[in-house]
Amino acid sequence: MTVNKTQRVRAILLLALFAWVVAAVLPGVDAGAAQAAETVAVTEASETGATAGDNNFQPAPQLSAADYPRLGSVNSRVAVWLAAQLHLWFAAFVLAVPIFVFIIEAIGMRTRDRRYDELAYEFIKVSIVAYSLTAILGGLLAISLLLFYPQLFTYLATIFKGSMFSYALLFFVESAVLYLYYYGWHWLQGGFKKWVHLTLGLILNAAGTTLMFLANAWTTFMMSPAGVDAAGVFSGDEWAAIHNFLWNPINIHRLVANVAFGGSIVGAYAAFKFLSASTREQRAHYDWMGYTANFIAVSALLPLPFAGYYLTAEIYAYSQQMGITLMGGIFAWLFIIQAVLIGALFLSANYYLWCGMGRSDGAVRYNKYVKYIAIVIIGAFLVWFTPHTLVLTNEELKSLGGPYHKYLGPLGIMPAKNTAVNLMILFTAVSFLIYRRTNKIATVAWVRSGNAVMMALFTAGILNILFLGIYHGYFTNTVYKVAASIPQVLTTLTIIVVSSVIDAFMYRGAKEVAPLHWGRIPERAQYALFLLAVAFTWLMGLMGYIRSGIRQHWHVTGVFRDNSVDAFTPTLGYAANIVSMGTILFMILVIFVFWLSQVSTRKTEVSGYWGQQTA
């Protein structure tokens, strides 16, 4: 009770803080814009009176390095970078958790299995403390922007005044619904009340997702500005600025990535609790929770590369120059680092599944296949990991006869990598399928033919993916190299969906021959869950760097140039160090949140401290 009261007080304080930040920022927008226009040089367009739509909006400021405020020896870019990244990590987590909490709660209502309801409650409990931190970090980001990049903030706030105000209002709505959803969990139980509670979950998700979409509009406007002219003069149509070219691709990518990320963080929570568990029941509970979280993370991880391809294709469609900077320019090596991270994600998720097969004695039937799956996944990882162009010394260049290696060079191009990632995803799906079968025997009459169909489906699909990758990758021109990835993706998705459906029907009413013993999993498997969370966090940070980095020396691409001393693009090593610093801070905060949730259940009975109570 005391804890709940403390949380309520904290929540009220945080809301007050956020309201203060919003109140401090929004009323100053117009005044700030006017001030900025006076203090900075204006573009040629404004001098000639060429404003969009004859409105009163000013062009994007043209700044010099001296126009950017400094605060002692604080590096402005790093300060904003870390504040933004930490806010984004926590925001991703607290937006994702209610999505799968809603689904798990609905499953619990459908199956009338109380364990799901308790699991969903525990998930949301983890995110509630993180929600407070998200708000604090959001305030920190807004303050950092105002301190270090006031003209940029003012310019964006001028354009997005309406959506920023809506964002603030919606934040209050989300907070209110979240607290009602969480604190009302045990009150709104059974019958109609449970439906009311589930509806609250739906409203919570709608509010959270809309908040993310609004924030994405501001971010993507900086990448692919719309609703402004060449000088950055706002047309007055805020929807045009929101609905810019890259808004929806980022919305989709972030939504899927958030679920995968949220799953991985909750998985790390379950792992932490598993390692700290003192009873068999606790180990069983947190083992199940970890498995569910891993399932959620991997389920979202599988379509994530496809969302990434879509985003990249749209970046190319918006600006080929930006696309090439992303994939073929200075950032090309980043994708080799990304390959290492993705490899770590897939390997840790699969490793956890393979360890989890030990929960059932029936797994012995499938253990022999694990090594082959591992070989394919590692092989696919190595292909993805292979660079195309090598940076070489002149001696190496001469001895190699060119910038590409004779045998490894062909593995560096996108068709090879597309093929590798599709195979990696397919074989992860195979890991799932065999895991699901460890404790059961199918009893349907068509089990042999069903397995034969699934085998044929996988074989034909894999051959198709290989054919598409090899033929279109090496025997056609550039246009088809990229286009071939779409049928590859469709093949992979078809196999996963069709085989899952067949498997679900085949194992409906299956006989359980070797029950799952939750909790019977080695401790090292829990570290696989931690690896998944750390790798995901680090990867999100890295991709945040590239998403922002492809704007290069522009605050807003093509219309608002960054003339600060930090306008240069940092090296990958430097970016990796900042991302690492952020990840360490995030992990410390997250593990602190885990620890807090543990502390909240502890009780110390003291004697002789409290005075005697009289009736």
């Binding site: 080929q320 001696e395 001469k398």
Partner: protein
């Protein structure tokens, strides 16, 4: 607390592994600094220097080689574009307004969809829309003078007559260009480097030669070149690299246009520096 320490240690080790790989496992490339506007001293500009500036813009600020290069084949190569410009004008698919090869080249940069080379249009447009941006606007933002310098370079590259006229007036970077329209041009002072190592870095001598902490191996080692060569020899070697080819090295590797790229004072600074390497 024990578990807290264990998972923190594991997380830190994992993060350190990722950071270590990013710092030491891949080559760290220093991205080019944000592009500066070309400071064009048009009053004293020679055509050779104008062509050289065009080449620098083509490979640098213009970001042309991101697409117009043999790697990737995303856009047509431009080594002969000035030769075939008139053929493009006669093509029935041409939708622009240019009437000369030079005007076509200019138009192709500011209105790339006026003529799209077959196979290089945006997907689904049947080669009617070019994926290339207007290089005078947006994030590239080249001035008229800079575009003309690139045309001069392309005409020179193709071996055709360079028809571009060096724009009249003073400094012509993007902002100054707008001023020059109002007749308030101000010529920019040429930047003459007095530091030999800065010159070596600027002209990328170290890409081929071992000199000034750089370790190129395609050309002779220059770390002690002053011990065996006098200033006359060194000056000739820079201005006319094929005059004497050092034993074991290929002719025609070193560009022969350093006479156009270096100011006389810079050339002397460089020669004196090399002569002093003993």
């Amino acid at each position: 607390m024990r578990n807290f320490i264990k998972v923190m240690a594991f997380s830190l080790l994992t993060i350190a592994a990722f950071a270590g790989y990013s710092n030491f496992g891949i080559p760290l490339i220093n991205p080019a600094p944000p592009p500066e506007e070309e400071q064009l001293d048009l009053e004293t500009m020679t055509m050779d220097r104008f062509v050289a500036i065009g080449e620098r813009i083509f490979n640098g600020k213009g970001t042309c080689t991101l697409c117009h290069s043999a790697v990737g084949g995303r856009a047509p190569l431009l080594d002969t574009v000035a030769t075939i410009a008139n053929e493009r004008l006669a093509d029935e698919r041409y939708e622009g307004e240019a009437d000369t090869g030079e005007a076509y080249l200019f138009e192709s940069m500011v209105d790339p969809s006026a003529y799209v080379v077959a196979g290089f249009g945006k997907t689904g447009t049947n080669d009617t829309k070019s994926p290339m941006p207007d290089i005078a606007g947006g994030s590239i933002g080249m001035s008229d003078a800079e575009i003309k310098a690139v045309i001069a370079y392309l005409q020179n590259l193709a071996g055709t007559e360079v028809t571009v006229e060096i724009p009249a007036g003073g400094g012509a970077d993007a902002s100054e260009e707008s001023e020059s329209k109002g007749g308030q041009a101000a010529a920019a002072e040429p930047v003459i480097l007095a530091d030999p190592e800065a010159l070596i870095s600027k002209h990328a001598c170290g890409a081929c030669h071992k000199v000034a902490d750089q370790s190129g191996a395609l050309g002779p080692d220059l770390t002690r070149v002053g011990a065996g060569r006098d200033e006359t020899y060194l000056r000739r070697a820079i201005l006319d690299p094929n005059a004497d080819i050092a034993e074991g090295f290929q002719p025609n590797l070193m560009p022969g246009n350093y006479g156009e790229q270096l100011y006389a004072k810079e050339l002397e600074v460089l020669v004196a520096y090399l002569a002093g390497l003993k």
